[in-house]
Structures are given as C-alpha cells and as structure tokens.
Symmetry: none
Subunit: 210 residues, 4 copies
Amino acid sequence: MSRDTETRDRLLKAAERLFADRGFKKVTVRDICRVARANVAAVNYHFGDKLGLYREVLQSAIEAMRATNDAARSAGAGQSPEEQLRRYIAIFVHRVLTPGNDTVHKLIQREMTDPTPALDTLVEQGVRPRVEYLSSLIGEIIGCPPADQRVLRCVASVQAQTIAYLPNPIAARLGLANQPSAENLGEIAEHIAAFSLAGVHAVGRAAHAR
Amino acid sequence: MSRDTETRDRLLKAAERLFADRGFKKVTVRDICRVARANVAAVNYHFGDKLGLYREVLQSAIEAMRATNDAARSAGAGQSPEEQLRRYIAIFVHRVLTPGNDTVHKLIQREMTDPTPALDTLVEQGVRPRVEYLSSLIGEIIGCPPADQRVLRCVASVQAQTIAYLPNPIAARLGLANQPSAENLGEIAEHIAAFSLAGVHAVGRAAHAR
Amino acid sequence: MSRDTETRDRLLKAAERLFADRGFKKVTVRDICRVARANVAAVNYHFGDKLGLYREVLQSAIEAMRATNDAARSAGAGQSPEEQLRRYIAIFVHRVLTPGNDTVHKLIQREMTDPTPALDTLVEQGVRPRVEYLSSLIGEIIGCPPADQRVLRCVASVQAQTIAYLPNPIAARLGLANQPSAENLGEIAEHIAAFSLAGVHAVGRAAHAR
Amino acid sequence: MSRDTETRDRLLKAAERLFADRGFKKVTVRDICRVARANVAAVNYHFGDKLGLYREVLQSAIEAMRATNDAARSAGAGQSPEEQLRRYIAIFVHRVLTPGNDTVHKLIQREMTDPTPALDTLVEQGVRPRVEYLSSLIGEIIGCPPADQRVLRCVASVQAQTIAYLPNPIAARLGLANQPSAENLGEIAEHIAAFSLAGVHAVGRAAHAR
DNA sequence: AATGAATGAGCCTTCATTCAT
DNA sequence: GATGAATGAAGGCTCATTCAT
C-alpha cells in the first residue's frame, strides 16, 4: 500500500485492459506506462520484463476463472444432476457475460490463439475442473462413465454454447445481441440449459438403444 | 507468364500459413519472403505493403468459406428441414476439420479477436448467409419466423458446436481428440446433429406450450 | 522521330520539369517514367542510369543559357558600352523571367547548391562568357582592365540583380511581384539598367578620384 | 543533467552542418548520429523524427538571422538614411560572410529551393523585417512611400548584392574571391554601399524628373 | 526496342531494455 | 525506489537497377 505498490497496481490494471483489448504484441511497454502514469522503466523494474508483467496479469485471470468454477460447484451442491447442470450454466453465463468481466475472457481467448507457457496453469486450474465436473454430471445423466466419448462430446456441446455469447465483432455486425442486458442473461442461460438437457437426453437414449 | 505468377503465388501460400499460425503482427515480411524464397521487396512489389498481402490472403479465405456455404446448401436441396440441417452440419464439419483446411479458420478466428476492415466482407459473404440459412431451417422446424429470438439462439447453439472441434491448444492439453480422423469426423457430425435436433425440438415444444 | 525517340523525348521533358521542381534526389525514376508514360526500365535503357538522364537534361539547359548569351551579345553589336549593357540586361531579364523558361534556371540554381560534375560545363559555356562580356563592357565604361577587382565587383552587382526577380517562395510570401507580366519585365529591366549604370559610374569616378 | 544536454547538442551541431552541406534528403540519420557519436535511435528520442530535428536546426538559423537584423538596426540609430544604409550593408556583409556562419545561410538558401513549413517563420522573422527597414530607408532617400514599386526594386537591388558574395561553386570555378578575407569584407561592403547609393539616387532623380 | 517482374542495399522508425543518476 | 536518457536489434518500406522475355 506504499507508493510502490500503487504504481505496481496501476501497471497491472493498465496492462490487463490493454493486453485484453489489443493482444500482447500490439501493446507497447510505453502504452502501458503512459496509461498507468508510470515511468518507461517501471515495467522492467517491477516485473523484470514485458512478458513477466503479462504472466502476472494472466495469473489474476486464472484466479478469476477458478473462483467462478468454485461458485458454480457449490451452487449446485445436493441437487439432481440436471439441476446442477442448469445452475452451472446460469452461474457461468452471468459471470462471463456481465460487463466489466470482459478482460478475463478476452485474455483467455487470446491464449487459445497465441498460447504462452501460462496456458498450462490456465487449463489445469480453470478448464480441467470445469470439464471434469461437467463430465461427471452428464455421465450421471446418461448413465455412462465420465471418460466416455459420448459424454465428452456432450460436454463440448454445452461448453461451446456458453462461450458463443461473448461479445465479438462478428455478432456485432450481424446485429445480434452484443451487449446482453440483465434479463437477457437469464433467458440465454435458460435457453442453453433447455437446449442442452434435451440434447444430452437424446444422446443418452441413443446410447442405450442398442 | 509462369515465373511471375509463381512468385506471387508462393508469397500468398507462405503468407497464408504464417498469418494463420502466428498472426499478422508476429509475422515479418522477411519471414514470408524467406519461406517463399523471394526477395524482401517482393511483397511491396506485388501487394503494395504487408497489409495488402494480408488482405489478399483473407480474400481467398472468404471465398473458401463461401464455397463451403454453397456446397452445404445444394447438398440439402429438396430435403426436409431436419435432413437439411443434418447435411449442413456434416458438410461443415468435414470441410472445416479436414487437416490442411486449418489456415482458413485460423484466419477467421484471428479476425474475431483482432478485426481488420476485411472482417466486413467476411461477415457479409461468409457468416451471414450461413446464419440466414440456418435460421430459415430452424424457423421451419419450430414453426417460428427466422428472426425470432428463440430461432437465433438455436442457430447460435448449433453454430457454436461446429467450431468447438477446431484444433486448439486447450483441447490438446485436455487430451481430447485434437486431430480428428476420417471416421471421427462422421461421429462428430452425427453427435452435433442429434444433440442439436433434440435441442431445437425442445425449444420448439416450449414455444408452443403456452 | 521513330517511336524510340518519342519515348526518349518524353522522358527528357518529364525529367526536366521534375528535376527542376523537386531536385535530383526527391524525384524517383518511377515518377519520371509515370509522367512520361514509359516503362520503369526506360530510363536505364535510354540513359544508362538516373544520373545519365540528369546530365542530358542539364546539357539542354546549358545550351539554352548559351543561346541567351549569344543573343544578348549580337543585340548590342556596334553600340556604346552603356547601351550594350542596357540591352544585355534587357535580353537576360526577358529570357529568364518569361514563364515556361523556369526550368532552366531552376536547374542552374540547384547546381549552385548541389553541384554535379556537369557544373563545369555550365560555368565554362554559360557563366564565364557572360561574365567576360560584362567585364569588358564595364571595364570600358570605368576605364579599367576587365580583370580589375572593381570591375568584377560591378559585374557581380549587375548579375546579382538579374537573378533577384526569379520566382521564389520568399518573394511570394512577401507579396512581391512573383509572376512578372510582360510590361513589368520592361520596367524591371529598365530599373536594373539605370540602377546599375549609376552604380558603375560612381565606382568609375571613385577609381579615378585619387 | 550534463550528459543529456551534451548528446542533444551534439546532434544539433552535427545536423546543422550536415543539413547545410548536403540538404535534408541526402543526409541520413545514421550520418548525423555517427558524427554526433550517438545511437541511431537518439534522433527519434530527442526530436521525434528526422524532420523534427531539421525543424529545430532551422529554428536556430532563424534566430541567428533575427539577431543580425537587430544588430544592424541599432548600429544605424540616429544616423542619416544614407549612413544607416551604409552601416546596414556593412553589418550584413560581415555577419554573413564571416567563415563559420556558412551553415545558417546555406540552410536558408535550401529553404528557397525546397521550402518546408518552417519557411513561413523564416520569412516573417528574418526576411520581412529586413525588407521593411530597407524600404523605409530608401523611401526616405528618394522621397517616396516605402511601398512604392521603385523603392521595392531598389531594395531588391541592394539585397541581391549582399547575397552575391556567399561562397558558391560557380564563383569558385570562375576564380573569384570565394573565401573573403577580413579586409576583403570591408571592401566588398564599401563597394555595395557606394554602388547602391548611386543607384538609389539615380532612381530618385528619375522619380522626380517629370 | 521495350517491358515488368525481381533484386538488394539502405533508410527511417519502433521498441524493449539498460544504465547512470 | 524511481527516473529518463540512451541503446541496439529489428521491422517495414523505398528505390535505383537488373534480367529474362
């Protein structure tokens, strides 16, 4: 909370937004320092180099993702698998699509196209728990082991839908809802849940048909 | 007539792969020219500047996307809406996931995170026709106008699933099938079709429930 | 007069104007060829290289200058030295300041600030004859040998005035007559002659005062 | 505080000489930095870009010119117009032709053939005051308003002579005094003054003859 | 004779990083 | 702890020139 810490924090905040908006390469150290009202050498001083700053920024994104996982998990504790899935989706949709949370998922999206060493942590602490939880739920619903290909495909189908509503320039150009309002969020979550549960059940019926 | 075209084409091929793999900024003109065995000034000579080359590369990606659209459309001509949707998905999955077609969708993915002026054409000639066709099919299935919010959400759900299987570093780290074989492709397409048709029908039933 | 010669001439015309307007370095071979509607390689083909073209352009400027000298000389044949000087000035002023003759003197001006090997010829065939003729006239007027310092200074004084009225951006900004009309030309010539003859006579009186 | 200023100053000094000698385009940033013993990026750091450095160099030239104006003006305070003109010429000739002051007038000469936006300031702060002072003096001498065409032509005649003795490659090739010694300077100034006063008086007599 | 694609040297500029203060 | 001047590597681009046709 001394003056140094303030500068460090301003750098982190500025870097988070800039990296999320423009990507690692397109942001210059000077850009970050200008926004953070810090010296050109501040980044190197506090974080070693530009990449060190980026890593630290990504760490907080990973933690945010993990927090969302935990919240979703405990929200469904003690419910039926179907209800757990429904709540999981709701939590995710609300957290991810609430304005201001953009930066976190923009950073993750960028990691998907331009991976850095930090992606490993992100997958292990952010994505894998989510996938495993979804696998266990869906496995239970359709009566298959969580590692079954059919289960994994359903997980992919559910997961893919939750990301589809992130604001992106294509949706904007198509005139689709790009800035989801609070009530929209509820409808979106319900749609994904209903659509997905029907899909999962269909896959389940097919699995036991022969 | 042969030598000119060869150099130009080599540049385009090299640029397509490099831009898709690393993104516009991370690729240097020298990289492209080295791969294409051409002079550093060749890019400027043939395309004006680096951005001009990128635009031309993207144009071919757009045309590839449009070709896929047309193929999918004519493959379902004269069939029931459900069957049309099934075939549409099959065509897309096969085209998009066949190894070697990576570059096109990597470029599109990059346009989504770092849009350029070329994105407009891409949306109008590539994405919008796809969305409109899917909207008409699903609208017919659930008995709603194509512009209905419920229809659009179903379109999003279907479309999101088709992109989910594109090779990406997260799927690779999760140990999911990242390089889909020929038979996998069929299974994936069937899964998406079955999952989606069930989802769409559920939404349809809900629409007429009240 | 064959087609080649036409291209060659177009190149010379275009180069003359461009070199005069922008200077050697700021004009590109492509600029010249574009204006002359010729191929990029045409300059090298016809003139060896850019400098070769420049030299040829300058040659024609030198010849124009020499022609002016000769005209001025023969216009004063058989007259008194004062009258010869008067006519010399008149000829110069008219030739130099008539619109369209700009290029020649712009090129010479540029040779003064950025000399090329061609400057030698220009001095020997253009400037020296002029200076020698003026020296002989003024020497006669003030009764001194043409190589006398006082004579040479008068020559400098006369010559300097004739160049002063060339269109230039400073005169333009000062609001001075920048595009001398036909009648202005006469007045200017008369002024320079009257001013100069008075000056020369004063120097002459001083020379014989002691 | 010392090292910074030194580098910046070394750059300015080096740039002044090089720009004056070779012109803006023919000088490379590397040339300047080599002479100034500075890094290639130093120009960009201190002056933004090459043009920024040039502008700053030209600013000092403008200030030098203005200082000369002021000095000449105050040297003639309280004298007759003729004497003022004589002193004005003397000051100018000495300042301009003293070796080492080359650079300033070389830069100005280059601005005349290749004007930049900086030329406006140069004219307003350097040339116009000079012209206006000369106009007022000569107007007084010949009894005409300073804006009279005859006055302006006399100003041009005087001014042109003062520039004529600047070292230039043509004078050098003609064998004229190109490196004026200290005593030469006095003689030159006297010549110009005597020649010009006689010329001005002649114009004055003609003005009142009718 | 003339073309236009291709070349390679070189230029200005940017940028992450370092270092003395 | 923090600054800002200075660095050097590298990038995009321009341009005169060449070469096969």
